[in-house]
Symmetry: C2
Subunit: 195 residues, 2 copies
DNA sequence: AACAAAGGTTAACACTGTTAAGTAAACAGT
DNA sequence: ACTGTTTACTTAACAGTGTTAACCTTTGTT
């Protein structure tokens, strides 16, 4: 059973150091001092292995977010903290973040629905915060879950543009993230004092 | 020279119908009634071919956006039209949209910088609209280009969550996009009348 | 007629994911 | 102590991959 963990570790190393295209069964096996076929004793196929890696990464992200949650803080501050934690995680562990969104679902129809529930719990972390804001009438929200997804999606977009190096070189990263976070949050807040 | 176009067309067909993993040089060649090596007469390698496909898709997206631009319309309406046109394009041509963001830059360091300039022109389409809003003091903007990227990123995130089937099944797609567009735009607008 | 370029081809190399079949060691039951 | 079975792995093979070097034809030019 130790080999399973070894395979996961080696796979992740290769993925991070050498890139996705270099992550072949034989290469993984070689670095784990077994043959490629041994991997199939612990994973149904390559997709299944990839899935396990995705799961790990999702958990890491979830933990990074969980760490930053502080119910004592002001509501808007909480939203901002989470957004920034998310962005920081993605920029600090770009490969790990990429893994999460790497699966092209059309090519992986076997992707088990229930696996996504672990991501869901992260959404619900955010939805919880939003619900509180709603109670305090600080925020204009219909369904907190939808709002959580909306915020999530927007942040993911911001991050993904940066990770894919799609950002104009003339734009400083920090200014971009600052403005993005600012706008995303403002999109939800009820502004009581017009500028 | 006609073969080059034939290859592009066949490649796109395979990519859309059979998925990325099935898009092999030999399969493309077979369907174009040539041998795989012939492709190398027109494209340096597979990445180069993929790049050409990306370029095509970007242009299609750009055209879809261009169609919707109408300077006669109200500024906020223009923003919304563009956002909706973008989302519609992505949802109507998911594979084509995916192609645009398919490149994993780490694995494709040869990606020529200047190619991105064509995307840039699309950003500048958006930046132009934003500039007008700034002049009219309808919008709170520092640098229109940054804002254009921010909006773009947010919309991309929204779209990408849906395309990757990451959206909670309990959430109706339309409600999600409506709310997303609403919030993204509101994040930029100076609200004069608090609710 | 001779030469060169254009537009292809065949054969091969070193890889890929995956499967069927085999092996060798550890353990369990009688 | 002899079976039988399970566990953990290996070897060999299949069909496919991207890519290159070398080789043909056909076409056009001088």
């Amino acid at each position: 059973m130790a080999l399973r963990e070894e395979i996961l570790e080696v796979s992740k190393d290769i993925l991070i150091q050498d890139g996705f295209s270099k992550m072949s069964m034989r290469r993984i096996a070689r670095r784990a001092n077994v043959t490629a076929t041994s991997i199939y004793l612990y994973f149904k196929n390559k997709d299944d292995l990839l899935l396990a890696l995705i799961e790990e990464s999702i958990n890491d992200l979830k933990n990074a977010l969980q760490e930053v949650v502080d119910p004592g803080k002001d509501f808007i501050q909480q939203l901002e903290d989470m957004a920034r934690a998310y962005i920081r995680f993605a920029l600090d562990h770009p490969k790990e973040y990429e893994i999460i969104y790497m699966v092209r679902p059309e090519e992986m129809p076997k992707y088990p629905r229930e696996k996504f529930n672990e991501v869901r719990s992260a959404y619900e972390l955010l939805a919880g915060i939003i619900s509180k804001g709603k109670e305090q009438n600080l925020i204009e929200v219909d369904d907190p879950l939808i709002s959580a997804y909306t915020i999530w999606a927007q942040i993911h977009g911001v991050v993904s543009v940066m990770l894919n190096k799609r950002l104009d070189t003339r734009i400083p990263r920090e200014k971009f993230t600052d403005q993005a976070v600012d706008h995303i949050i403002k999109g939800f807040i009820i502004q009581k004092t017009p500028a």
